[in-house]
Structures are given as structure tokens and as C-alpha cells.
């Protein structure tokens, strides 16, 4: 038998509880506003100041000497293109293969260890990657170069691609793998012909995000590509890059260069955002297809 309750029924939700709940709701929304305020301000200033700096010369000319107005940073665009092209060529195969190892073969402690290393390598300070590649590549080559810069970016992009590839491959249902194996296909063929193509757009997304990240990096390039005021197309020689140019010009006492810095910022930001947003849209679609 159930004994009788000792206390009268409690009243409804008290005022104090309601107020605390409202304060909590208001507080978390305020956190959202606080976090997004800088975003809005940065967008506003980069667009406002950057748009004014854009013209045909900006994309086609080298910088003018101080005192001569106009000019552009074409050498930085070419340099960034060259560095990113090489970085993609190095990091994508490495990242994909490591991701495949973790997702398809990775069982047990060894794989867990590799996964853990990949995870913490995501936190490698970018300047350290630059110093490391300087000590290895720049010293060996005897010169700063686009190649050295792309290797420094590879150090940063490899773990990013690894983690992203692994996660995407894990979304591919096991039935597909089994279906492939049941057809008599070798495991490696199943991976390359069934699993990877199924995850195709997801992997493409991962590459876009890694490129977006690499493209904006300044510190590692500073220690490896050095920068260059003139167009250089030799990957073995000192090369300019857009983020590097922004950094130099932001610190320059010459006011005309500040406009070029803002122009660089708006182009860089636009490129990075286009990559990130497209990647988001694609991955959203990919998720919808899997589910």
C-alpha cells in the first residue's frame, strides 16, 4: 500500500523560476549576438574599404613604388595560385590515403594512435610548421620558394584532410562494401571504385575546406616563401602570396598601400567564403543523400 504524501501539492512554476529561465534564454541569445557582432563588423569594413580598392590594375599590375598611386598585386595572386596548386598536389593524396587507412583498415590500437596524432596535429601552430619547413626545405634548397611554402601548407592540410576523409568514408554504408566484395572485387578495388566514388562529393568538400584554410595562412608562408614585389613563376624562387601582401601592407607606413591591403583582404575573404559556403551546401546535400 502506498503511504499518504506528507506535504501539500506544490503550486505552479514560481516567478523566480520563470525569471531565471527567461534570463538564461536571453543570456544565450546575447552570446550569439556577441559572437556575431565582430563578424558583421569585419564584413562591413572589409567590403566597405576593400571594394574601393578593386579595379583592373589591382589584378593585373605589380605594385607601384611609394608615392606613385595605383598599381596592383598581381604577383601575389599568381604566387598564391602556384603555392596552393602545389599544396593541393602534395596534401590531397597524403590526406586521402591516410583517411582511407583509418576508415577502411584502421582497427585496433595502431589506428587509434594514428587517429589521435592526426587530431592533435590539427592544433599545430601554423608558425611552427613554417619554422620546421624552413629548417628542412629552405635550408636544403638554399632559397625561399613556393615549393617550401606549399610543403609548409601541406603540414597543416594533411591532418585536416585525413580527419575529414575518414569521417566521410565512415558515412558510406557497409552494405555497399559487402556488395562489392560479394561481386568478387578485391578489397582495394572496392575502396577505390565503390567507396571513394560514393563519398565523392564529400571528399571534394573536404578538399575545398582544407584549401580555404591553407589559402588564408600567412605565418608559415612568411617563413618559407619570403614574399616578392614582382611576378615570379619559378616555384623554386621566392614568391609572393595574397595574405603575405596584406600583412606587409597593413604594417606599412605608406598610406597608399593600405588600400591595396584592404583590396587583398576582400579578394581573399571572398575566395575563402565561396569555398566554405559551397562546401557547406555540398556536404548538406551529401548528408541528405546518405540518409
Amino acid at each position: 500500500m502506498i503511504p499518504a504524501a506528507g506535504v501539500v501539492r506544490s503550486p505552479g512554476v514560481s516567478r523566480a523560476r520563470r525569471i531565471r529561465d527567461r534570463a538564461f534564454t536571453a543570456g544565450v541569445w546575447a552570446c550569439g549576438a556577441i559572437a556575431l557582432l565582430p563578424l558583421m563588423l569585419i564584413f562591413a569594413f572589409v567590403i566597405g574599404k576593400g571594394a574601393a580598392a578593386l579595379n583592373l590594375d589591382f589584378f593585373t599590375k605589380e605594385p607601384n613604388p611609394p608615392g606613385v598611386p595605383g598599381g596592383g598585386i598581381v604577383q601575389a595572386f599568381i604566387g598564391t595560385g602556384m603555392i596552393m596548386g602545389l599544396a593541393i598536389a602534395f596534401s590531397v593524396p597524403l590526406g586521402l590515403l591516410t583517411g582511407i587507412y583509418l576508415a577502411e583498415y584502421g582497427r585496433g590500437r595502431t589506428a587509434g594512435f594514428v587517429r589521435f596524432i592526426a587530431e592533435i596535429l590539427l592544433s599545430t601552430p601554423s608558425i611552427v610548421a613554417g619554422a620546421f619547413v624552413w629548417a628542412v626545405v629552405v635550408v636544403a634548397m638554399g632559397t625561399f620558394s613556393a615549393i617550401a611554402a606549399s610543403i609548409a601548407l601541406t603540414v597543416l592540410m594533411w591532418p585536416i584532410l585525413t580527419r575529414a576523409t575518414e569521417e566521410i568514408l565512415r558515412l558510406v554504408p557497409d552494405d555497399l562494401r559487402e556488395a562489392g566484395l560479394a561481386l568478387g572485387l578485391a578489397r582495394w578495388r572496392v575502396i577505390l571504385r565503390v567507396v571513394v566514388p560514393t563519398a565523392g562529393s564529400g571528399i571534394f568538400t573536404a578538399i575545398m575546406l582544407a584549401v580555404a584554410r591553407g589559402m588564408g595562412e600567412t605565418a608559415p608562408i612568411l617563413l618559407t616563401a619570403l614574399g616578392n614585389d614582382f611576378v615570379n613563376t619559378n616555384p623554386g624562387a621566392p614568391t609572393d602570396a595574397v595574405p603575405l601582401r596584406i600583412y606587409f601592407y597593413a604594417g606599412s607606413p605608406v598610406v597608399q598601400f593600405h588600400a591595396l591591403a584592404w583590396g587583398g583582404a576582400i579578394t581573399l575573404l571572398a575566395a575563402v567564403l565561396v569555398l566554405s559556403i559551397t562546401a557547406r551546401v555540398l556536404s548538406h546535400r551529401q548528408l541528405k543523400r546518405v540518409h
Binding site: 502506498i2 504524501a5 506535504v7 506544490s10 505552479g12 514560481s14
Partner: protein, 286 residues
């Protein structure tokens, strides 16, 4: 509480309809004077995104009795019970239309706070879910602490009362400060019942409370349900027809989100009106 006039009429109509065939109801279930935790469900529809989980459900649940909801998986029985204390809307993309009158007041009216409704209409879930970092005693009084205003000794007293009410006191009185997660599965589920009872709800909703338990623990829960109906309105969802037959006074059979048949348990299991009910209770499908 103001109520829409036409609404009241329709409720009265339904209540009187019910009177006609409820004569066979077990005693104790028919005390209808004081508000006794009666629930009227009126034209209730519920959705998960685009999927319509409930279709025009109308139903009158009697206070101080046990109502069982049976039906095959996916028939909407869990959704229905979760609509009775406004838990359904906590699922992303979920939506409800219609009315649920609790002691005559629509719990979906705009001025009604779901928090208050949930305190008055308690719930026990399919899987025992004690708070893992809280002790046995703290789990039992977790809901009371929210309301506040009770001293430590009062809390302990109420905790003991709830644990006794859930038939758990003798087993845990020496381990009140151990983590609730360390109890056995059946004990954890009774701890969850104690936690729900401690805030003194008027109704206890149980969503397949014994489905994750062994037969001995299941039996203990069923005994407990029998004791609880003296004080509470109990609505129990179960996929186990024997269980429904054993514990309930009233049984509701659902199919594809619709009410097929609702009546006294003895009648529904022996002389159902609907062929589909008969097929289901005799095990011909589902």
C-alpha cells in the same frame, strides 16, 4: 479557466457517450465528482515533420484508473502518451494540433506553461534514465529540488516517501548516497517512478516501462501499477497484451495512428467490437 462554449458541449457529449458502455468498469474508476485527473483528448493530430503520427484521436481517460494503450510498433501509442504531457513537442520537427483537456482545461492553450503541465502529469520512460551523477536519494528528489522551498530534512522525508511509494525503499535504504546508475535495471526503473511520484503528479504516464526489464522486475512494476491507481491516473503504453490485460482497467487499441477501439479491458480482450481488435488481441497479426 475560461473555455470555449461549443467545446464544452462536445466534451459533455463524449463523456455521456462513455457513460453508456462504461457500466462494466471496475469499481474505483468511477468516482467522478472531484477533479480526479480525468483527461479528454479532442481531435488530436500529431506530426514528425511530414509524417502524421496521430490521426484525429478522440478519447476520454478516467481518473484513478489504469488505462493501457496497445497496438503494433509504430501505431502512434508512444506519440499519443507523449502528447498528454506535451513531451512530443520537444522532438525536433514535431507538431501537435487539437486539444487535450486535463480536468477540463486545455493543456495546449496558449497561456498554459508546459513546465507546469509536466509537473502535474509525470512520465516514466521505456529505458530507465536516472541521472547518472546523482545519488539514489538525489534522483528521487530531483524534481522537488526544482520547485524549491524545502529544507534538507523535508527533502529526505519526501524522498523516503517516494521511494516507499515506488516499492524501492527496503532495497536502497542503506545505499541512498550511491550513484543511481549503480542499481539494477529494475531498481533503476522504480527509482525513476519514485522520481516521478515525488513531485506528486496527478497522472503518471508510463511509456513501455517494463520493456527493458527482466520478468521478475516486470512483475514488480506491474504490482506497483496496481497500487498506484488508488491515487493516480495511470496511462501505460505496452506492446505486451498480457501485461495490458493484467494491469489495466481500460484499454485503447491503436492502429496506424488512429484509435480503433477503446473500452473496459475485460470487454476489449473478450468481446471486442472491431474485427481488427479481435485479430490483434488473438495474435492474428502485429
Amino acid at each position: 479557466m475560461e473555455r470555449d462554449g461549443s467545446m464544452t458541449d462536445s466534451v459533455v457529449m463524449r463523456a455521456s457517450d462513455l457513460e453508456n458502455w462504461s457500466t462494466g468498469a471496475p469499481d474505483g474508476a468511477r468516482v467522478r465528482n472531484a477533479p480526479a485527473g480525468d483527461i479528454e483528448v479532442v481531435d488530436l493530430n500529431a506530426w514528425f515533420g511530414n509524417h502524421r503520427a496521430l490521426r484525429d484521436v478522440n478519447l476520454s481517460i478516467n481518473g484513478r484508473a489504469v488505462t493501457a494503450i496497445i497496438g503494433p510498433s509504430g501505431c502512434g501509442k508512444s506519440t499519443l502518451v507523449r502528447c498528454l504531457n506535451r513531451m512530443h513537442e520537444e522532438v525536433r520537427g514535431a507538431r501537435v494540433e487539437g486539444k487535450v483537456l486535463f480536468d477540463g482545461r486545455d493543456i495546449y492553450a496558449p497561456d498554459v506553461d508546459p513546465v507546469e503541465i509536466r509537473r502535474r502529469i509525470g512520465m516514466v520512460f521505456q529505458r530507465p534514465n536516472p541521472f547518472p551523477t546523482m545519488s539514489v536519494l538525489d534522483n528521487a528528489v530531483a524534481g522537488l529540488k526544482l520547485v524549491g522551498g524545502l529544507s534538507r530534512s523535508e527533502l529526505r522525508e519526501r524522498g523516503e516517501w517516494a521511494l516507499r511509494a515506488a516499492g524501492l525503499w527496503e532495497e536502497v535504504k542503506d545505499r541512498l548516497h550511491e550513484p543511481g546508475a549503480r542499481l539494477s535495471g529494475g531498481q533503476q526503473q522504480r527509482l525513476c517512478i519514485a522520481r516521478a511520484l515525488a513531485v506528486e503528479p496527478e497522472v503518471l504516464l508510463m511509456d513501455e516501462p517494463a520493456s527493458a526489464l527482466d520478468p521478475a522486475s516486470t512483475l514488480r512494476i506491474e504490482e506497483l501499477v496496481q497500487e498506484l491507481k488508488e491515487r493516480y491516473t495511470v496511462v501505460i503504453v505496452t506492446h505486451n497484451m498480457q501485461q495490458a490485460a493484467r494491469v489495466s482497467d481500460w484499454t485503447l487499441f491503436m492502429l496506424y495512428g488512429e484509435v480503433v477501439e477503446f473500452g473496459p479491458t475485460s470487454k476489449l480482450f473478450t468481446r471486442p467490437d472491431d474485427q481488427r481488435t479481435e485479430d490483434y488481441v488473438t495474435g492474428r497479426f502485429g
